[in-house]
Symmetry: C2
Subunit: 747 residues, 2 copies
């Protein structure tokens, strides 16, 4: 084993000759030295030659991280598996979902981070088998070896460890501003007219929206990079029309390429050997034949994204879309999901024939059932194909967790290259540490279950720790039928998650904001408008989080010292000023909320103009909360900035409202840029720094506007609604004369 | 439609000529009159001739009841289906489980109860399709008719409505006292020695226990009413040995009878036409052949429990067990669960052949998968057999929900008849309103999911409303592997549910109290001992609940006026003095608790001798709660009675401890009887009535012992630990001179 110090806080331990996964961006020219152990862990090999790391756990030790996993925020007491998996049935015992994020924080007297940069299977027992022991097992590769980089990340507390980890793997990509808006999807809006109808309804119901998604059916026969002329006519004209109307189209792109003679993408891929090849796991050899699986299009070839040339090819396939103004996409099915392979099916038929040949089949019928249900996303199939990793033949199973990542990497490269300097938007189902630099992820095929609200509240906190700031669940659940109240309550959480999309599965009930009744439509409208009203706060905070490599969504236990926070996983910080505490139980008309460490300004909101606010001391309270209300809490001595919502994120207003509870002083810096290009990287942005200082029961305000590179201030008035230490509201207002603030006046 | 007034509060509406389901016990000689509507509802037939009842729902109207259903305590906003179903995967969208309990309370300005005594399918939309409407649809029978009795139950509040409903359908059966003890099960302890080992471990670890269960493997080849000589040797001797050691054996009995020549039960059933017959749904005729399905024993015949003669036969089959002292059983698989039928399997093969014949199977593979998974408990199979309802041929599908009920009825009759005056214990998976009079139920094949703790907390509250007081879930979950903490937290709830059983599925991790580590064993021991320490309270309260037809487990919103109680479904009343507020989240070390209406004595308990107690005013608080702690709250002006636990419920102590917070006065009547016979029905029991009256910061105590029929008081000392209005503890003690209490003395 070799050790290399990458920075003051990060040490790399290298076992064998690991493949470069692309996860890390921090390089060091420090030379490596030999070492025989990884701090905190004992390492050995189990009987199968898998590498096993073990660590004793103290009684109160918490374990955080692991990104897209089920279970609590504190991962202690369960087993997890890093092996990307298309499993739409997120029942609590499931060990793996679509992404693998093997970064963890061990939080005890000694607190540190661990990142295992291993693209094969990792099984983490976080105190399940034995409460006092964490074991992490890296499954050996086809050559009976485990080659990996392991990183120990130090820091003076959990937040700093995450920050240091993000210097290792990079901050997330910066989406265009519209991506912070509300996005509407379903499987499927199958025709251009269906999409137009959806767009028209948003205007009709006066509900802001920035994007509409195109699921599978926009394609011609599920062939990627085609569009159905029958259902969408002139797709370029259609896309242009939508964009002109203020809606971004987000089409789906799956990895699988339909095997069909004459289909250009397939022909190109086949001719250039761009597809994954069949592999014999025993012989460790490829036959050289393309690996074919059944996915949506039927017989399908899988692009070999592990190969740089293939990624280059794939990237350029997006060009045709970018040229017509469509540079926002979602990559689905990229674990990759495989319905079945020929060999899998043959295996099933054998079992069938066996059972059928018996005159009196009994319990063996269960074998048959298990075989049928186990045919999809079968581990054996993942051992049956391989990659050409730039010259080296690598069994897919050994790098399984990188497939979606590299599809995303290829897609992002193409979208960036062909977007003429505009920011792209990219969403992926599968991911690995590092893919956050290229795109966003959603939490996959969840269900319209009330239980899934809280599951995803926890998950997005964990994903933020792993660099996936721009993340959210399908609201109000993908599978199953939603009820009206679920839409409302989930939306009222969703406005506090960075990625806000409503999406539903085929055959499920409609769940657009107007799909239920007028009252529900009104409540949904108010929630979504509130989201848009928060845009100055969200965009500023998010920009800073990306810039300074700090998560946007933070657990209470990371931000506050109150010991009770360790037991509260259904409240979270949304940026640095606001805590969300959503009602997530059906028929509940209130909930208990714990306000840690300081005073809080509680806001029981119905819409962005409502002002049911009250100051609370630290403590636990039961807050009533009708269906049309939601709770947010502004932290003492911090500021929250709002504006008036429009029909989408393009609406620009000239007035800001600043809300806070200030007992000493509070600052906030509004950030803005063009929202669409990368010019902000070159200094083209503006900031508006506001400071409120308490002065007895009154306060003073200073504002400083800083424009760069020709920005002109749009803001004409800033309204301050500040509560003082006595809980009294004092309103003030500042007029801006161009870039210069005038003296504040009481309103 | 005909109307008949059954009592002041209960009106019966009869449509057509309904079959007597056996659900109700209240008869009236009042004559019926014609009527054209059921109050509160509009009735019509849908296109399929199903009967549909509709009711407008007001905004804040809550709907309670429905017994064994998923979802919240307030059933509003979901769909439910009364059609008994063996589905082990209790995911939130499931509409039906093992039992059907079509009793509901509509709670708005006007509050009333509704019982639909219909044994076929009922689909209840409690405001799911439209938030403002509840529809209840009764599926027509094979003759295209709906014949049913419907009851409207009045009362001045929810509790009184339940009480009145219970006068209609009867109070639950009274189990022997040992059934309130801890019970240990798993699928399976497969040999006599394995059972002996389990029993020995309870003694070794000093953990109280009253019963050990025998799952499938005690039988000879899954043949009901046989025992495996190979694995259990002389079963009579074995049962006697266990009983002598203080453990009750609870063997499983399924309904299905293995088709095997020479097997007495099968031969008798066949010879006497005791089995269900094949049925042609189209022709509405039976072929007269026995209906054969595949269940555990392979080819299986289903006893026709709808027939009185068959029930009589089945009842007597228990005699052989009763004669060797075994009169406690569980009836499983009695929905009835069917793995498949020959016709179902043929149907699957047809689909297979079709898919296989295609050269390029694609998405049609999903048909094949769905077919395989849908083979078990298939609705079509339930239409393929029929009953001889004492002369009348009835399609099984039309009376599906009565099958488990009538199996239980037969079993209970047999057990009562052959138990020589002793109380029997009977547990069933399937149930219908009315079967609570014959036995207990458990909540079926749940999972070791943290989410299932709260699901079952809600479910047992709803089941108590329907008469099923003696109910509980498999702790800590049947399917999946449990973690140590789940065992602890679920046990800490389980001690506050009437039926307390630890049970696990085949192939899952061991989860007996000692299966994890020493600390966990200690915590589990303390929790279980606490349960045994509560036995005087539990047995007294439970007896009164049965006697006076009032649920043992009650929702907060039924017991208190505080409006917040409507939003709190994870706290509940356990008897009349104690509120449980369990920690049900993994890794949580505390929780928020709302204390409604009055002051409460909060007890953060580690074991029954611990005394971390404090008085709280009404409000919401966060209570810290370590893993070894659990929270209970004793209501102001009520009393809680404890004793010292022994190795099982047979332990008799001579000292009681009475705990309370008394600001005015509080009473409690301890009830006791022999715990094993029905002599209490004939007056053979004793009561000890205690009254504590506040007198300034002190209090006075009166005790009155009432023995009947030769009972002698066992109690020699009663220790009072009473907190006064100032939160000060004042200890007093009373010595009993025989049946006469001496003056209390301060300790």
């Amino acid at each position: 084993m070799q050790r290399r110090q990458l920075s003051d806080n990060i040490t790399q331990y290298t076992i064998g000759k690991p493949l470069d996964t692309g996860a890390i961006i921090l390089r060091s020219d420090q030379s490596a030295d030999d070492c025989d152990r990884i701090p905190h862990f004992s390492a050995d090999s189990d009987d199968d030659n898998n590498l096993r790391l073990s660590k004793a756990l103290t009684d109160d030790e918490a374990i955080y991280g692991l990104g897209e996993m089920l279970g609590g925020l504190n991962k202690r007491g369960r087993k997890y598996r890093c092996y990307n998996n298309d499993d739409p049935n997120h029942t609590p015992e499931k060990q793996n979902l679509y992404g693998s994020h093997p970064f963890m924080i061990f939080d005890a007297d000694e607190t540190f981070g661990l990142f295992i940069d291993y693209p094969g299977e990792i099984v983490i027992d976080a105190g399940f088998d034995r409460r006092d022991t964490c074991t992490i097992e890296l499954t050996k590769d086809v050559h009976n070896e485990v080659n990996t980089n392991i990183y120990i990340i130090e820091g003076k507390n959990k937040s700093e460890i995450i920050h240091n980890f993000l210097t290792l793997v990079g901050s997330p990509f910066m989406p265009p501003k519209w991506a912070f808006g509300y996005q509407q999807s379903r499987w499927s809006y199958p025709t251009a007219d269906a999409v137009r109808d959806i767009c028209r309804k948003f205007r009709e119901y006066d509900i802001p929206c920035d994007a509409v998604y195109l699921d599978l059916d926009y394609m011609d026969d599920y062939k990627v990079f085609t569009t159905s002329h029958e259902r969408f006519g002139d797709f370029a004209a259609f896309a242009k029309e939508l964009l002109a109307d203020g809606f971004h189209l987000v089409p789906i792109i799956d990895p699988g390429v339909k095997v069909e003679d004459g289909y250009a993408v397939y022909e190109e891929g086949k001719a250039n050997n761009y597809f994954c090849k069949e592999y014999d796991y025993e012989d460790k050899k490829s036959s050289g034949d393309d690996f074919i699986a059944a996915v949506w299009p039927g017989r399908t070839a899988m692009p070999d994204f592990m190969n740089a040339q293939v990624r280059q090819w794939w990237a350029d396939l997006y060009k045709q879309f970018c040229e017509i103004g469509v540079n926002s996409f979602w990559n689905d099915m990229n674990e990759p999901a495989l319905f079945f392979t020929k060999r899998g099916l043959e295996d099933l038929y054998t079992t069938y024939d066996e059972v059928r040949s018996r005159t009196n089949p009994g319990l063996d019928f269960f074998d048959l059932k298990d075989k049928a249900t186990g045919l999809s996303n079968n581990r054996e199939d993942y051992k049956r194909f391989c990659h050409d990793c730039d010259g080296q033949t690598v069994c897919h199973d050994d790098v399984h967790n990188l497939y979606g990542f590299n599809m995303v990497r290829a897609s992002a490269d193409g979208l960036k290259r062909h977007s003429h300097g505009n920011r792209y938007f990219l969403l992926s189902r599968s991911s690995y540490i590092g893919s956050h630099r290229y795109g966003a992820v959603w939490t996959g095929d969840n269900q319209s279950w009330w239980e899934h609200i809280i599951v995803h509240i926890k998950m997005i906190q964990s994903m933020n720790m792993c660099g996936f700031f721009f993340v959210g669940p399908d609201i109000p659940g993908f599978g199953c039928d939603a009820d009206a109240e679920l839409l409302v309550r989930w939306l009222q959480v969703g406005i506090f998650t960075p990625f806000l999309r409503n999406h539903a599965a085929l055959f499920t009930r409609s769940q657009e904001p107007w799909a239920f009744d007028d009252e529900i439509t009104g409540i949904a409208r108010n929630a979504i408008r509130f989201r848009y009203a928060m845009m100055p706060y969200i965009y500023s905070e998010y920009h800073n989080c990306v810039k300074f490599a700090k998560p946007f969504i933070t657990p209470l236990s990371f931000a506050f010292s109150d010991h009770r926070c360790k037991s509260i996983e259904d409240q979270f910080m949304f940026g640095h000023s606001v805590m969300a505490a959503p009602v997530h139980s059906q028929n509940a008309r209130g909930r208990s909320v714990t306000l840690p460490d300081c005073k809080w300004l509680a806001w029981r909101a119905t819409d962005y103009t409502s002002r049911e606010m009250e100051v609370f001391a630290p403590g636990t309270y039961f807050f009533d909360c009708r269906l049309d209300q939601f709770l947010l809490f502004i932290k003492e001595d911090s500021l929250f900035v709002m504006t008036s919502p429009g029909q989408n994120t393009q609406t620009r207003t000239d007035e800001l409202t600043v809300i806070g509870l200030v007992t000493h002083s509070a600052e906030f810096t509004c950030y803005d840029d063009d929202g669409t290009t990368y010019q902000y990287e070159h200094g083209k942005y503006c900031t508006l720094r506001m400071k409120v200082t308490a002065e007895g029961s009154d306060y003073s305000v200073t504002c400083k506007y800083n424009a760069h590179d020709g920005y002109k201030n749009r803001i004409k008035r800033i309204n301050f609604e500040i509560y003082n230490g006595k809980g009294e509201l004092v309103r003030k207002s500042i007029k801006m004369s161009g870039d210069t603030p005038e003296a504040p006046v009481r309103r």
